[in-house]
Symmetry: D2
Subunit: 305 residues, 4 copies
């Protein structure tokens, strides 16, 4: 941990958040060197925090040992320049193990993912999250997603119970729910937009006090991602509209062609710009040739925006 | 028709939109006198248009003859002070009949509801809407809801084909879809927020250029509805937050207790403030005693906000 | 009405049920002559009842006047050989009007469709259905579908309240719900399988006491439909499997390509076999050329099964 | 591994399948002794296989070390009398580790659960499952559930690619999909019904060739579970109906009160009959006092059926 609680809150609550893909080599193993170079390149841009082994980083496809290696390389490489946030989840037992690994590797926080497989009642989710929060001294951001979605009252309970819970990331895109949470819990937490291709929600997020979001496309069009974020925060709606129309809407149309492409296309984008991170692991699949060409074309367009 | 196309666009695109409930007497028949008084009271407030026999007005529970009577009373009572927008829908054949009835009764436009019962492909929906638009000379606002939800490309096609299509009302609350539509179609149309209790989405709507919304609670707490809208448009986020927390969030929790309460509670609210519109018709049901008391309490709170 | 309550129950509860498409001419108007010929042809097969202006008959696309004409032609043409069941729905007011029209035209029963557009609580749905049942002396079959799905307790209440409610048609395909209904309500009602392409559910339906179903493909491959039904009832699972594999699975794959094809493909099938009923009305659309060829091929296959 | 491939197929494809809960002590740790006694009691009944650390056994709440202990105790205790099937899942990497642990502990097969968290395309799922199948020499049953649901064509591909894939367990309850799978893939696989409280689907399952199912209630009313299964297979529909009405329908109503109760109520049931397995782990929660009383009452009823 290199950053104080307040510094993490500051970084996560405002500024562009980056979510690097995880590098695999040709045998599909974690590729430390390639990942190190990726992170050096990441932190050379105007971002405020680095979330490693997150959704875009295929947390769900990593073993605990791989996860530990990913976080270790990340903390070393970022070198205290920015907060490094890792992940945890799956179950109370596994979640504690991931949180401990993250803490030992020097991460500044964890993004807490939903439980595996099971349906969950609200109070059970609070208990799941509380157990994992209590097991670690680093900061926790709860990822409100899938079978783990908390409603406003439950978020309030969790925030009251866990001092190291500092934020909530939305992965559902339900504006009624999110507004209820933000209005109820207020500035006790910071809020992060986290639906796939969150830029399409960015204006709506900002309107209710969700000042930032996870930019997956930063992995392959970082200048565009930064330009979009700046335009958004400066109220430059013409630029927001132009980039949305020319890049994000066609990107989303391509993304929606197959399940999992919210991650797969990001890895393909990295290859297109000469910074390959290898292929996604099953159950994800890489895009086909035609889709790759469409993505190449979008990269070209992005460079002119 | 009392208003020009431009005047309707102006009124519908900006300013608080009101959706009166439809008055039924003790035998459950349309009550003209009570409805007339309701509309006189409505237009004494700061609203920019009156949508009659809409969702809150139980369009789905009215026969064509009743609909004609409702619109006729409304047009007479509003007397050209504000645009009156009626509804149409169900099928191409019925939709044309409703649109003709609205036009003959002097309405300034129709809100076009989805087809009845069937699944609909995108191009079939465009054809459905185009046929009804083409059958009338008054303005049309398409209600993007239920089985009738159009995606961005289809909205563009419909707007290109139908000069009298002037607006789109969102009834889905999917910010990705709505943002794609607004960014794609732009100011060719005006946009209206129209999910149940739309105030909870109001900030998000506004952020992407949806400047107004349907206020159902205006039926029983009109001052609160107007105060909220003003605060929203003036960027007074403290007032927006206070009213959301103290009124809209508990109201939504009450509303979500049973299906159809988005309408039923509005009618109960009208009774509570001494302006009864009778009961909803089946398949809707009125709230139970305990719920009525909770709503009374919310009315008391609203008066202090 | 040509059949007693018991005779209707007998016919609807056992035996293949047929659902003719509604004939439109080149201008899209109801075509009486063509429809008359269709019904004559229908009743020359081994079916136990004729459901006119049902889902496959585009009830949702017909005006009340057209509906009256459809039922009148049907009753005349069937001539008392089989029970004729028409439809009703939309709202209490409209539902009563449709039921009256059906009764006046001589129909033996109505299939009661869900309300239009609105969300519905269980007790509101019971009230909706009860009002319409009470308004008519003919038999009613409740169609459990879309926003009108009743749970077991509500079905029991409705059956207790309405002596002329004789059946329930399932349009949801939720075996848990349907089994709860059948086990709870028992033989007070007869049960009809009514999901799209119900043959794929036929074995499961039969296993819990739903002895029959609506066969839409009867419109263009009646021999296959009859053969399948006979094999099912005789426990000839080899034939059931062969027809399912060679016809119904590819048909379902084609049907699932676009919304509404559960009806559109049936009309195209009628054209293919030389008994055109014209095109579907918007919001439905006819299949494209390639899909028509695939359907032609399936018709060829059906003739060899 | 104590059983040949054929013997496992035989046992899993026909006969009542049992899914023991996993015992936790008062500190929430795996309780070997209590679990051993449970298994001894299980195999004293008429069951054909034991699935350990499955859904009812909270697989999703166990670490790999705990899982290994569970399987080891199970294999020892069952002692070759019946096949023991363990679980695997989460990701390709974790799935291989679980499969290896199961194999090393002497299990006869694994039930392969869906990937964690991510959306999955069909071919990616096939690849996920194939990788795990290929990593083990024991038999695999694919659990078609949640984000891991395979369609008919993909099941066929997987069956073609993996000789040790011997079965498919349905966890979705979609009869159209399941019938398509069974009709397409046929007796290359055995099929197991596996929705929560699968007895409510048992007749429908059986009708399409799914001869058996997972009985969770066997954990606390084993005689009832066996009686029901016998009646089902003997075509004794009166007994099936009586048990469904008097036990399963009220049980399902209780179960549906809160998410996760499909497991929680089973553990409570074990306590009620004096064979406590401790409490479920978060994110699950135990039922409240009133619900416990209702369940006690159901146990009393079960004893009289």
């Amino acid at each position: 941990m290199n950053f104080s609680r307040d510094a993490v809150i500051q970084a996560v609550g405002d500024g562009l958040l980056s979510f690097p893909v995880t590098d695999f080599d040709e045998q599909g193993r974690f590729d430390r060197d390639s990942y190190r170079q990726r992170l050096e390149w990441f932190v050379s841009h105007e971002v405020s925090a680095v979330f490693v082994a997150g959704g875009t980083g295929e947390f769900f496809n990593l073993t605990l040992d791989e996860f530990r290696a990913v976080v270790t390389v990340a903390v070393e490489t970022v070198g205290g320049k920015l907060p490094v946030i890792a992940s945890a989840g799956l179950s109370v037992g596994a979640g504690k193990a991931y949180a401990r690994a993250a803490e030992e590797a020097g991460a500044d926080g964890i993004l807490l993912m939903p439980p595996y497989l099971t349906e969950c009642p609200q109070d059970g989710l609070v208990e799941y999250a509380r157990n994992i929060c209590d097991s670690t001294s680093i900061n926790v951001i709860y990822y409100n997603r899938g079978n783990g979605v908390l409603e406003a009252e439950a978020v309030q309970q969790l925030a009251d119970a866990c001092p190291n819970l500092v934020g909530l990331k939305d992965g559902k895109g339900d504006m009624q729910l999110l507004n209820q949470i933000v209005k109820t819990v207020g500035d006790r937490l910071v809020y992060v937009g986290g639906v796939p291709t969150a830029e399409i929600f960015a204006e709506a997020y900002l309107s209710i006090g969700v000042n930032t979001y996870s930019s997956a496309v930063f992995n392959f069009v970082p200048e565009l991602a930064v330009t979009f974020y700046r335009a958004l925060r400066q109220g430059d709606s013409a630029t927001v509209k132009r980039i949305t129309n020319d890049f994000f809407i066609p990107f989303i149309n391509l993304r929606d062609r197959r399940k999992g492409y919210a991650v797969s296309l990001i890895k393909e984008g990295a290859t297109i710009i000469g910074r390959s991170a290898g292929s996604v692991r099953a159950p994800l699949v890489m895009p086909n040739e035609d889709e790759c060409k469409q993505l190449e074309n979008l990269v070209r367009i992005a460079r002119q925006l």
